[in-house]
Amino acid sequence: MVKEIERAGIPVVHMCTVVPISLTVGANRIVPTIAIPHPLGNPALTMEEEKAIRRSLVERALKALETEVTEQTVFEK
């Protein structure tokens, strides 16, 4: 799916838990997330803490979109 969006000419960042699968399906900008049933959350935390984490991950995704890449790149930080 990520490949088709990229193929259409739209820059895309893939936020996903399982980076190796993301690499296999051909994502170029990858942001690793928390866990499969809740990639952008963590039920162990309070709602505020959770949202803060979510925000930092989304900001990392935006940064990835602003970054020129030439090959598959994982944005760990």
């Binding site: 838990t17 399982v18 190796p20 699968i21 866990a35 499969i36 049933p37």
Partner: protein, 123 residues
């Protein structure tokens, strides 16, 4: 940990200290789904969830071994379980009518049990 819908396996291993046994009152698919959720929690798959040569729409029974303890998500386990569920769905799209005699049911339980025993004895 053994996840199974085969009561023969459950009866045989339920009192072993070395293995926890989760009995699923349900189908092969239910065993796969339970295994998948466990893998998502961080358990590692130890035996392959697909039978060999017995197609998923033939045998109604399945026992799968996963790790006793959880760690971080095991990607190989995840890929294998997802492929296995897809494969199960593919075969069940073919929708064959099944009318098992007691003998066939017992033979399927036996084969599942012996494959599992073979795997455990080989450890």
């Amino acid at each position: 940990m053994i996840i199974t819908n085969n009561d023969w396996v459950y009866e045989k291993y339920k009192n072993y200290d070395s293995h926890q046994v989760i009995f699923i009152e349900g189908s092969y698919k239910d065993v796969l789904v339970k295994t998948r959720d466990k893998i998502h929690e961080g358990y590692e798959l130890l035996t392959h969830p697909l039978s060999s040569s017995l197609k998923p729409n033939e045998t109604p029974f399945k026992s799968i071994i996963i790790s006793e303890i959880k760690d971080k998500l095991n990607v190989d386990s995840l890929i294998i379980i997802e492929n296995s569920i897809m494969s199960w769905e593919k075969f069940n799209n073919n929708k064959l009518k099944l009318n098992f005699t007691q003998q066939i049911i017992e033979d399927f339980k036996l084969v599942d049990l012996t494959v599992l025993e073979g795997a455990l004895n080989n450890k």
